[in-house]
């Protein structure tokens, strides 16, 4: 067992005016994740520590935190990779509710704004057939777990919370590329706006931090191509 030094950002809305850091020493071996360490703190050292978590295997997307300034899933980040103090903060660019828990209302509003569901004229129990090639077009973008790491990586979202952001635009692209969907026309007005795809300046950090390697930056910039096409086509329409 090795001892690791954690500096965890604490914020108690009932008593604090701003967050501060608290130091904890936790034992760990090569299998100890940041989430394990935080749960050790909560269970053994300080039960007042607030954090969000669920699956512990990078599927639920709940345990996103900033580790030494980089957005990470706590369960997928291991203490063994850090050789100095480990600074753990809540996800950047979101309002902090308590300690490591952030308010994701804005993120969820952006996700629902782009109509993330199949829109088509199929009725009843008709089977939606799709070839492997049609599936391959959007499959990469369908693996999002809504963890919000890309929003913490995105300075444009940090500067303008109205920007739809990487995950929402990737989700829109996922449905726009789906052969079973006819809802593109309903999504484009959102994506064409200044808070849509054009709010992105291709910093690209969102793709680096994505725990599912979706490459949201690529999806957002593919959407710019779609938006430009949509604009040109609209010029020739009465």
């Amino acid at each position: 067992m090795t001892e690791y030094q954690l500096l965890v950002q604490r914020y108690d809305p009932e008593h604090d005016s701003k967050p501060q850091r608290q130091h904890y020493t936790v034992p760990g071996d090569h299998t100890t994740s940041v989430l394990d360490a935080l749960l050790y703190v909560q269970h053994q050292l300080d039960p007042t520590l607030g954090l969000r978590w669920s699956c512990r295997m990078a599927i639920c997307g709940s345990c996103g935190v900033m580790v030494n300034g980089i957005p990470k899933l706590g369960c997928k980040t291991f203490l063994r990779d850090y050789h100095t103090d480990i600074i753990i903060e809540p996800l950047a660019h979101f309002a902090v509710e308590k300690d490591l828990i952030v308010d994701m209302t804005q993120f969820l509003a952006h996700l629902s704004a782009i109509k993330p569901y199949l829109m088509n004229d199929y009725s009843g129990t008709a089977v939606h057939k799709q070839t492997p090639a049609q599936l391959a077009k959007y499959q990469q973008f369908s693996n999002c777990i809504n963890c919000g790491l890309c929003y913490s990586a995105c300075p444009q979202f940090g500067l303008n919370p109205e920007f739809l952001g990487p995950a929402a635009i990737t989700l829109a692209q996922r449905y726009n590329l789906d052969s079973r969907d006819n809802g593109k026309a309903a999504r484009m007005p959102q994506l064409n706006s200044k808070n849509g795809a054009w709010g992105c300046t291709f910093v690209g950090f969102c793709s680096d931090v994505c725990p599912k390697q979706l490459d949201p930056a690529a999806a957002v910039n593919q959407t710019k191509v779609e938006s430009a096409k949509d604009f040109i086509i609209s010029m020739f329409k009465p």
């Binding site: 009932e14 300034g69 309002a95 902090v96 291709f202 710019k224």
Partner: protein
């Protein structure tokens, strides 16, 4: 359970104007965007050269003398390096935005096209074509 709204007091931190100094990725992004600055100087030189060309041989010779100064050569070399760096980042990003072929093929294809066009322009203006 009825929780009054007043129990909440979310803390929203402001993003400082120096956000781009925080990470290596952000600094590289700003470096990519800043490559336009030395290019502005190069474009200024180009426009100045065109202007001198229309004003007769005395102006043209003064332009040539201007271009031979060490600091002008240094800034133009910087502009050249900056545009190569920008090209490198652009060529790497392009296959992700328009995935028409395997990324490695598209990246090498773009460099090959750049090399061919640059050589063609060089030969054309050098009088070899």
């Amino acid at each position: 359970m009825n929780i009054p709204d007043s129990a909440r007091k979310p803390y929203q931190s402001e993003l400082s104007r120096w956000w781009w100094l925080k990470h290596r990725d952000y600094r590289l992004y700003m470096l990519r965007e800043a490559t336009v600055l030395p290019l502005l100087f190069f474009i200024g030189c180009l426009l100045y050269g065109l202007y001198c060309l229309t004003q007769g041989s005395a102006y043209w010779q003064s332009f040539q003398l201007f271009m031979q100064q060490g600091w002008v050569i240094a800034l133009n070399l910087l502009a050249f390096a900056a545009s190569l760096f920008h090209a490198k980042t652009f060529f790497a990003l392009f296959p992700r935005v328009m995935p028409l072929a395997p990324a490695a093929l598209m990246i090498s294809g773009q460099w090959l096209a750049t090399l061919l066009i640059a050589t063609g322009v060089f030969l054309l203006f050098g009088g070899w074509l």
